[in-house]
Symmetry: C2
Subunit: 162 residues, 2 copies
DNA sequence: TTGTGTAATGTTATAATATAACATTAAAAT
DNA sequence: ATTTTAATGTTATATTATAACATTACACAA
């Protein structure tokens, strides 16, 4: 469940191709089609390696010909269904999932300053939430957990600069 | 922190006026203005007692004269700042907060079937999330926790009907 | 109370996000 | 090859939200 390597500016091309390779393998094994458009959208998302809006993606796709919103949204729907990306409700944006092999509830840490994002998949968080929900007679199916704050680097700067 | 009474269809007028009274008291004590529009919007939200979209509110306001979107959004901004309502990111909707006196991180249980909503304010959930975030060097400031699933009643029906 | 500054609201226009509906093309299955 | 289904193209529009500037209401001091 842990990322096999840390993505640095230098290794980011690796990070992208890893994600794409994983996606291809996964789709083949599930017998679903990672078509060129879907592949391209996933690639664009991983190139950013941070939350991207649908219309940002659209704009980039349009550099290689005419594309309309439904095309992007359909690709995003597919990628979400396959667990290859997550949608961030508080940002109206999408981000690649680093471990799509395992179905999971992601928890997202979103830096207010640099907009970077970290996904953690902590079973304890999921469990506590599910337990509390069930304690009030609710049947939980899906969780949205998004935390806004500062990443390590930005928090240091905040404290120095005020 | 616990709701003093359960809202039933019969007692709902009480539930609304309680919320409004509380809001008035709170705003007076904070020396901020619960203007007619703000009061009205809060009232409309509590009348539903479930998540309401901004344009739903707008439509209702327009039954008493011309109103434009910014008016609604400003009122919603104010009510949010005062903690009188919460925004549900996964629904693009707003709901009244039952205990605005205390600042808190709400957790929301949203029924997929009847669209009812329960707010719980479980400190353990907040704490676990904050701890895990800090464990990866993140400084958490604000949490969004929204759980989609079935309320008690709807879950019973689901299981019977399939 | 009369000005003076600030907060709130009005008004118009538009941005940003997302989907409906139907036509066309590509792929898979028979 | 034919049929069926999945995917994409295309046009239009729905839904959610904000920018920018004008006007009005209110608070508070002179
Ligand atoms: Zn994930
Ligand atoms: Zn940061
Ligand atoms: Zn609350
Ligand atoms: Zn229900």
């Amino acid at each position: 469940m842990q990322d096999p390597f840390v993505c640095t500016p230098v290794s980011h091309h690796q990070c992208i191709s890893n994600a794409l390779d994983q996606a291809e393998t996964l789709c083949r094994s599930r017998n679903v089609r990672l078509t060129p458009i879907r592949h391209r959208v996933l690639e664009l998302i991983w190139q950013q390696h941070r939350p991207v809006g649908a219309y940002d993606l659209l704009e980039q796709l349009q550099q290689q010909g005419r594309v309309a919103p439904p095309t992007v949204y359909r690709a995003l729907d597919f990628l979400q269904q396959q667990g290859l990306i997550h949608r961030l409700e508080s940002l109206n944006a999408f981000v690649g999932c680093a471990h799509p092999q395992y179905p999971h509830q992601g928890q997202f840490l979103i830096c207010k300053s640099c907009r970077s994002l970290v996904e953690i998949t902590d079973p304890e968080i999921s469990t506590v939430i599910n337990n509390r929900a069930e304690a009030v007679g609710f049947k939980p199916l899906n969780q949205t957990v998004e935390v806004s704050g500062f990443c390590d680097g930005c928090w240091q700067k905040e404290q120095i600069n005020g």
